[in-house]
Symmetry: C2
Subunit: 367 residues, 2 copies
């Protein structure tokens, strides 16, 4: 490593970003054993792996008789968590966020959460009250979602480390994946996005004190202190005919669109005017001198859902969701290839926004 | 925190060790929602939580129709992993260890592993080849156990962080727990223990170069580079009548005995002469000036199994296991209370050995 922190790697030992590693290393390493994996038990019950690491969905999927089990793990940044270090998130908030980030992966597959395991490792100086407040946050999020915290691992570490694993279930055959979108499908998003990312931008630009004076500060921080896993929507979608794909927006809206496009083998055309934007995001975009749509599409762990439905089913999906009090937004349609933003005047352009990447040029807390 | 690193906590904000936190904070935080938790699906399938965090077994247990699902998470120390930092473990070894440590928790419940999720976070400077070797180690361990690696989380962090979640299944009602031992039961262990702990002691005392010259070095390092999860034994035990409890020895033999005693509400009497000792452990004990039994009982992640069977079933259990080529050792019996070592001359004394604790007086790599 050079003095300035830049990576100096030998040409034969590249340092790839995270999506490249997922594609080139993780998938290959685990493909062989997973292919067609199944297990028969002495009582004739059978366990089948429906989708493993190679599917690159939010969770792996197993079939156990009449039930499909989904399970996924998510690590949450510890003390390098920028807003936590700035005193804007408490330990209880971190625990809450950890649980929701994991439950969101389950919700994105259309599954009902059945439990959470958490790894909470802490420095030797962390007192019982602080440790208990992390667990209280985890527990509050579990209550919000209705699924119990069932175990995990605690103990010492050099610094706070938080990781989790959420489990969920659907009726067999009802799991939603990233791979089902087809040309002509309608693309929906569940709410305005970019809020969590805008919060980071505000406090990075202004710091804690001045940031808190901003009129949108409370709305923005809410995305980090009390995020919502869209279990209501995910579980509704799995029961509706014609829903073809789903993913949460935890990597930002643009990256999520790209991910469904890649996994489904389609492109998307988005209507610029139909993409919902949050007033708080628009306000921060003004501060930064970027347009609101750019910030709305950029890297931001909002835990909303992006999903597709066939053109035939789209209106009925909207109606059924509305009957449950759930609003969704049509933002575009699947096309043969390419991802384009269509302006009201009909002009097309590439999607703006910074898609999520494991960018080594960013400070750690923003990766 | 004082200058010398000692914890200075206010009396009302104690800094408890890990077992105390498990007992006083973790159990309480998660008990309410977990109690009697169940979920009915639209196709009439039902998911029930059989044992959550409050049971404090290696894994949580769910019943999904004819199948019991067990799931547990284990964090593995990263660069503070002493033998790794000393150049005695490779990144591939760490990956292998991570997988086995997690599969062992499943095996200890009598379950057949069905998959593994891993969290692999790495510093920005780690090149693709090194990252791929961690995954190769994970994959090799999965092949050894016969269960696929199905996903997880990768990405950047300030340092190498490794955590995992293993899943396993049994026929409904066949899961083994720590809580079933009854007075009169026979206590078994699957092999000599203390090997992994002795390896740490050897290299801490002698350092890398001199340590490697020790005739037992290769045997000792094997416990870290290629540990074994006792899936063969765990899955055999779940099918045998009269097996009453089981736990892996990843916290050391003494701590494991204490744990089954506590959860089952019994005591144990151990026959000193019947506890198997490894020649490599005896050799290191000599170096350290302690007796071999002390080191055999001390903190050491060997991933062997400690289990109990009723006095009536014990001989048949041994015979059935022997028919599968699995040797086990009778080391004592469950009594009403207390844990005592009985010497060949009939004298009794407390168990020697350092039980596992989250001791803040120890360097992090030994906690």
């Amino acid at each position: 490593m050079a003095e300035d922190g830049a990576v100096v790697a030998h040409p034969v030992d590249p340092v790839s970003d995270e999506p490249t590693r997922l594609e080139n290393i993780v998938r290959g390493a685990h493909a062989e054993l997973a292919r067609g994996w199944r297990l028969g038990l002495e009582n004739n019950a059978v366990v089948e792996l429906i989708a493993g690491a190679e599917a690159q969905d939010d969770c792996a999927v197993y079939r156990l008789g009449a039930i499909d089990l989904v399970v996924g793990s998510d690590y949450v940044r510890g003390p390098k968590f920028f807003l936590y270090e700035a005193g804007l998130l408490s330990e209880e908030d971190l625990g809450y966020y950890l649980a929701i980030a994991n439950f969101s992966d389950v919700a994105a597959m259309g599954a009902t959460p059945i439990g959470l395991l958490t790894v909470v490792r802490y420095p030797a100086t962390m007192d019982d009250r602080t440790f208990a407040s992390i667990l209280a946050g985890i527990d509050a999020a579990c209550h919000a979602v209705g699924a119990p915290s069932v175990g995990g691992d605690i103990g010492g570490a050099e610094r706070l480390i938080l990781s989790g694993t959420a489990l969920g279930v659907t009726e067999a055959g009802r799991v939603l994946t990233r791979a089902g979108a087809r040309v002509g499908d309608v693309l929906f998003v569940s709410s305005a996005t970019g809020v969590a990312g805008a919060a980071l931008q505000l406090f990075r630009k202004h710091g804690r004190e001045k940031g808190l004076e901003h009129p949108a500060a409370a709305d923005l921080l809410q995305a980090w202190t009390r995020p919502t896993a869209r279990v209501d929507l995910g579980t509704a979608l799995r029961s509706l005919d014609g829903v073809t794909s789903c993913q949460d927006t935890s990597d930002g809206l643009k990256a999520t669109i790209e991910s469904i496009a890649l996994r489904s083998g389609v492109g998307f055309e988005l209507d610029a005017a139909s993409i919902p934007t949050a007033p708080a995001v628009t306000a921060v975009a003004g501060l930064l001198g970027v347009d609101a749509l750019t910030l709305t599409l950029s890297d931001s762990p909002d835990f909303e859902l992006l999903f597709t439905a066939t053109a035939e089913a789209a209106a009925e999906v909207e109606a059924q969701l509305a009957a449950k009090g759930i609003e969704v937004f049509r933002i575009g349609r699947a096309v043969a290839d390419g991802i384009r933003l269509v302006e009201p005047d009909g002009a097309g352009r590439p999607l703006p926004g910074e898609a999520w990447r494991h960018r080594t040029d960013l400070p750690t807390e923003l990766r």
